[in-house]
Amino acid sequence: MRLAIQQLTEEPGCDHNQKKTAEQKKEACKKPTPGATAGGCAFDGAQIVLLPVADVAHIIHGPITCCGQSYNNRGTRTTAGNLHQYGMTTDMSELDIVFGGEKKLKASVRHVAAKFKPKAIFIYSTCVTAMTGEDIHTVAKEMTEELGMQVIPVDSPGFSGSKNLGNKFAGNALFEHVIGTKEPESIPMFPINLIGEYNIAGELYQVQPLFDELGITLFSKMTGNAAYEELCHAHRSKLSVVICSRALISIARQLDEKYGIPYFEGSFYGMGETKRTLMSIAEQMGSDLLKRKVEELTARKEKETYERLAPYLPKMKGKKVLVYTGGVKSWSVLKQLEEMGMEVIKSSTRKSTEEDIARILNYFEGNEDGLMPKGDGKTLLKYMKEYDADLFLAGGRNMYNAMKGQVPFVDVNQERHFAFAGYEGSVVLAQKICATLESPVFQLVKKPAPWEVSFG
């Protein structure tokens, strides 16, 4: 297993590693600092990728922390099933650890197969089961034979690394055990893989109609609103579009190497990016008809959207935003905000690839002041004050930091309830931003208490 982990961290398609010297590599993949760390573990990352597949069961092999403190907590939406709402774990006890938990894991797989009749079962290793040497691969193999149902091992012990590494583990499991295991009955005209889009708060639903109208088929969605079956068919797509640049580029690369499916990175945050992404698809498909359709559709949508945005734009114009998010969002959201006339004062570069950073820099016209490495709540609030920012846009982890600083905040995290993708998403985002900026609360909370007012 150690070998496997090493191989994954040296992922050549992971562009933040590709062009680097050994020294830089060490820096980029550096270990978290004990006593000063924030992110989740590799198991968390693996679940982010796989859990949206809701017609398969997900069994976490380990003691209670991994499942008990994490389940029922994702903003992903789906119509393919409801198993993503279930937390399933072998809940290892002390005795299980002493005597080995493989029997229990097998019994759990049988139980889940009988009770839920899922399309397949993913089993995840975690810190404790990886340390005690539980062999989930053999269990998976045996159970696949016994049940006649795919049981798929996911190596994801938390101690092996960060969430990003876990994303890769998940991608690896999909590539090794799922993709290419079935053949589709028919292949549509323009089939694409959409990789790294998890339908958080229903973002996929916001862009799906665009694809429908263009006649492009989201043949295999990894993994927002995905059914298991379509994941098996991914090798028959003509193109992969990777939405989160760093996490799952490995699948796209493997699909390219093994099946000759080209890939590129896209985004649906903002009208410009949405258009660029759709146009790239049309170009890669080599269809002039499709290109014309994209032109027409995006022009119409942009016009419509600007009309819908009209009441909001004056309120947002020139307002200053601090952005603290990760990966592809760190630059695509900037463009989305720019389209709405807002001014971003700083954006974070955590979890960003070199390309992401280059794009952020591009936005700030080369001024490195715009870049913000990792920051804790205190630093972020300090920037808000220093730059006299009007709005803080970040993940949920910072929501209550923002409230302690009494600054207007818009949430862009995993558990949120609002979707910001495509044309529809820009309108929703504008509505959210205006509602927050206009909230009377922020004035009111600054009012002194009666006993803070001095008389005379």
Partner: protein, 436 residues
């Protein structure tokens, strides 16, 4: 009789690990950093969980044990973690919480801490309280209680007893099931009887929203000085069976006697508590408390039309479900179909339930077919949607719901509020049934 369901696994676990409970306890202590010794995911999940529950900044850290092969028998992550926390945050002390991983590895925490002290004398002024929290044993409530007991063992030194007749100061050993609303009520009652209190731990102050600036360490909870002062109290009261070990430490080391209340929920439990306070202080109950009792009685009368003939099921940690379950059955007269819990502690086995199960929310779903409503954490929301039953939220976590932590579930006030809440659920069911 406690039922064990023949199932090899947990589906929709009710149980949270002991490390989550231990971290929660430390969040109720002033300027204490909970430091989770393990890979970083355990801390990240727990932080996310508690942040959503309290809707507050929840400081905690991890020793971020990485690559397992290089660190067996190695102190470096633990030592570096402690040093970094002290350098950056300057906590009054550190609550060091282990995980399943470090427990399986057989880390010798005590030995490692001794080596830390030898190697880094410059950090000597910051105490570290270690708590063993293997997540393959116990539940959140046991972890919470263990963190409290570990803290007291470290800070309470044997004291010579002084004057027994002062009767001025009482320790409140507050179980994990208590809310800020509950603790506020207790403070007010004790004040009315002329007693000073130390609430330990005090999540109402640290996680209740009164800290109005950004903080890197929990503030306003029980301070180290207050904890040391607990040795000088005249009495301790224990709320929730799980907290008895803490009271025992104070009794054994400093002969502070104690009284245990398994629950303060409901009219009878409140009466017993107030009677004890009247005996202890020789004082009469204040007028506002009498009014609260009358209102509680009136609420029970108003609600009883709809309580009768109803059935419910409940899931949660032992201390929590004992109090609510007892009140709903014995005082409201609602039938208890199934009680699901996570550990064999406290008094929950005395509940008049048809099924008492050590299990998960899947068991609750399975064994609540006759129930009109469900009492559980917000993790039961998907289940209640599936079976179309109202959910009364109680326990951990309560997500996507404002103000739960400020509701009161104990005392006369809590009895009144619970009677109203449950009465409203029952009345709505009646109205729906009658086809309006």
């Amino acid at each position: 009789m406690v039922k064990i369901i023949d199932k090899p696994m947990a589906i929709n676990p009710l149980k949270k690990s002991s490390l989550m409970g231990a971290v929660t306890a430390f969040l109720g202590m002033h300027r204490v950093m909970p430091l989770v010794h393990g890979a970083q995911g355990c801390m990240a999940f727990t932080k996310n969980f508690l942040t959503q529950h309290y809707r507050e900044v929840t400081p905690m850290q991890s020793t971020a044990v990485f690559d397992i092969a290089t660190i067996i028998g190695d102190d470096s992550n633990l030592h570096e973690g402690i040093k970094n926390v002290i350098d950056k945050q300057k906590p009054d002390f550190i609550g060091l919480v282990t995980t399943g991983m470090t427990e399986v590895r057989g880390d010798d925490i005590k030995g490692s801490l001794i080596r830390f002290r030898e190697k880094y004398p410059e950090y000597a002024s910051t105490p570290v309280v270690p708590v063993s929290c293997p997540d393959f044993k116990g539940d959140a409530e046991t972890g919470y209680a263990a963190a409290c007991a570990a803290t007291l063992s470290q800070f309470i030194t044997p004291e010579v007893r002084r004057d027994y007749k002062t009767r001025k100061m009482v320790n409140i050993l507050a179980g994990m099931h208590l809310t800020a609303g509950d603790i506020d009520w207790l403070r007010r009652v004790f004040e009315a009887f002329g007693l000073d209190v130390i609430v330990f731990p005090d999540l109402s102050s640290s996680m209740g929203g009164q800290v109005n600036h950004f903080y890197g360490l929990p503030e306003e909870g029980t301070s180290a000085d207050m904890i040391k002062n607990m040795a000088h109290a005249d009495f301790s009261i224990v709320i929730g069976g799980s907290m008895e070990a803490s009271a025992d430490i104070l009794l054994e080391r400093c002969t502070v006697p104690y009284k245990k209340f398994d629950t303060l929920t409901g009219l009878e439990a409140s009466d017993e508590f107030i009677s004890w306070l009247m005996d202890y202080t020789g004082k009469q109950a204040p007028n506002w408390l009498r009014i609260q009792r009358q209102r509680a009685v009136d609420a029970l009368l108003d609600g009883h039309f709809s309580f009768g003939g109803k059935t419910f099921s409940i899931a949660g940690e032992p201390d929590l479900i004992y109090g609510l379950g007892r009140f709903f059955t014995k005082e409201l007269g609602i039938r208890l179909e199934t009680a699901v819990t996570t550990a064999r502690s406290g008094k929950f086995e005395n509940l008049p339930a048809e099924n008492i199960i050590m299990g998960d929310l899947d068991d609750l779903e399975e064994f609540s077919k006759d129930s009109d409503f469900i009492v559980a954490s917000s993790n039961a929301i998907p289940m209640c949607h599936r079976v179309h039953k109202p959910l009364y939220k109680a326990g951990y976590p309560i997500k996507d719901y404002l103000g739960h932590f400020h509701r009161t579930f104990i005392g006369y006030y809590g009895a009144m509020q619970l009677a109203f809440d449950i009465g409203n659920i029952c009345m709505t069911l009646d109205i729906e049934k009658s086809g309006h």
